[in-house]
Symmetry: C2
Subunit: 345 residues, 2 copies
């Protein structure tokens, strides 16, 4: 078992910079597409054998330093009682046909028992731990991001329903975000109990909120989740969002060990915002993987250089997920280059 | 004629804070929808009588302190020789069926004579100036944003084709961005000659680029356009983008008089990044307009307070365009509240 990834998360010395990639188990891999062809997306999430298979693929094919559980952040709202569909064609993307808008909608949601309604996740984790020789990352969506999906009912660009609902009724906001946070604490705790060795909280839509709103509706609930977990000193928590340049200090103050940074903020600048006590994860622009080898290499070198300037504690990753049409060869070259790098102590 | 808007852009004393709204001529107004029903979007842009009518609507209905020409940033690439469609249904949004990818594609583009291929824009401006009693803002898309559309061929979330093309072949990038900049200088100059009294350059996708890439592919070409214009000291230029927190200093250094700020950066923070020499435009979250009156009022007051702290030179606007389902009554209340505010000198 290699603990390079865990060590970097905890700002301990490492021989090489560790790397994993958001959406490393995904459509850019032909092996993933072959599995995915046979089942729907939700079936894949809920069938431990298959979820295990696609989780292992990038570790085997690319040689990443961590695996991330194959699942979806929206299985939690589903387990809380919300009907969930993944649409196709014109109506693509996840949809909740009965979104949360009122106190009555909220009252109908319950806090799931993870070993019942979300047992398939823990079964996948238990299965994975039998075959993995790198650490396994469990994950969930952050309270604000989940609440935004649950209120909008679908992906949005402007989140006016979510914002109008939460900003206009702070009691509803607090109750909904607290209920989600409570569900997430149990969910993540069960993932740890099943064998997850690190956790990432995806606040994918953090950047849709201005800093004052994130201080009220975002960061406090991420902090509740992070601080609500019982974990030992070798089990890091990562928080990640996109467009979080203005929010990095708030993310660092949640109690997480690692803050994910998108490509908009150079890692050495990010250090100034998060302080010395957390590790940084990121932050190559995913579009860089479409460049010819030499141009890609220069950009990877630049990220490593900025990470070195930011001081100890760097997990290499993209600034967002691997794009579906990314050439596999580019990702392999990226992993090789990062693994050739020894960060300063 | 009220010059409150021009004065604020140029950081001169004003009696009241001026306000206009991006997409103020748009779908949220029933009067706009009534006109739009009869014609396609491009027909509306290209029919001066109708474009004039919808440009005037928000000034009459809402009492904004400036009008903005009704048009689209993509009419320039179209005039440069690119076929442009506005799709419907599943394929909604603008599309260039023959995107730019190679030097040969670039060679086929020409720099249009604005009084020929884009005459309808200047005719609309000339018509507007006969009826307006507030200043008229002309506009264009910024070189990077237009290049990104021209290379992707359609709206994108990740811009991998645009980035791969420009980052991998810097000569092609420079030639394309220079050609677009040259076209924009002529286009904006013609708008000024026709009677536009201010200009806004929309770098809508600026925030997709990290700061080092924006320094190479974004800001220098905005600067070329701004500095290539012949204008008197009473004709301000505004530059605007979204997710530009890391780019504000670069935008301020282009020679523009006003920098637009989205809601992610409080205006008093923005002042620290842009320096004292430019005015600020923004930055209410467009979703705020879905809040009940009191909650909206508090948020507007907060923006005004931050603007006052940022010092002289504030044009009130949203941080992005008015959303199509925005209640008209909210926008009217917003305008009234801003007009009740006298900024400190």
């Amino acid at each position: 078992m290699s603990y390079r990834f865990i060590d970097a998360c905890l700002r301990r010395p490492v021989d090489r910079t560790p790397i994993w990639l958001m959406r490393q188990a995904g459509r850019f891999l032909p092996e993933y597409r072959a599995v995915r062809e046979k089942v729907t997306f939700l079936q894949l999430c809920k069938t431990p054998d298959l979820a295990c298979e696609v989780t292992l693929q990038p570790v085997d094919i690319l040689g990443t330093d961590a695996a991330i559980l194959f699942s979806d952040i929206l299985v939690v709202p589903e387990a809380m009682g919300m009907e969930l569909h993944f649409g196709t064609g014109d109506d693509h993307g996840p949809q909740f046909p009965h979104p949360v808008r009122t106190h009555a909608d909220l009252a109908r949601l319950h806090i799931p028992d993870p070993e019942q309604e979300l047992r398939y996740v823990n079964d996948t984790i238990r299965l994975l731990r039998k075959s993995l020789n790198v650490p396994l990352i469990g994950f969930c969506g952050a309270p604000w991001t989940l609440a935004a999906y649950m209120i909008e009912g679908r992906t949005s660009r402007s989140f006016e329903k979510a914002k109008a609902t939460l900003f206009a009724d702070e009691q509803l906001a607090h109750e909904l975000l607290t209920k989600i946070s409570d569900a997430l604490i149990r969910y993540l705790q069960a993932q740890l109990d099943a064998g997850a060795q690190a956790l990432q909280i995806f606040d994918s839509w953090a950047g849709a909120l201005g800093p004052e709103d994130y201080r009220k509706f975002g960061a406090p609930y991420v902090a509740q989740v992070v601080q609500g977990l019982k974990r030992d000193g070798n089990t890091p928590v990562i928080v990640f969002g996109v467009e979080t340049g203005e929010l990095l200090a708030q993310l660092a103050a949640t109690g997480a060990d690692v803050v994910g940074v998108d490509w908009r903020v150079p890692l050495d600048d990010a250090r100034g915002r998060v302080g010395p006590a957390v590790a940084l994860q990121g932050n190559l622009d995913p579009a860089s993987l479409f460049l010819p080898p030499e141009a890609l290499e220069k950009r990877v070198a630049r990220v490593l250089e900025q990470a070195d300037a930011a001081g100890p504690g760097h997990v290499f990753n993209l600034g967002h997920g691997v794009l579906p049409t990314t050439p596999v060869e580019s990702v392999k070259a990226l992993v090789r280059q990062v693994h050739a790098h020894t960060p300063p102590r």
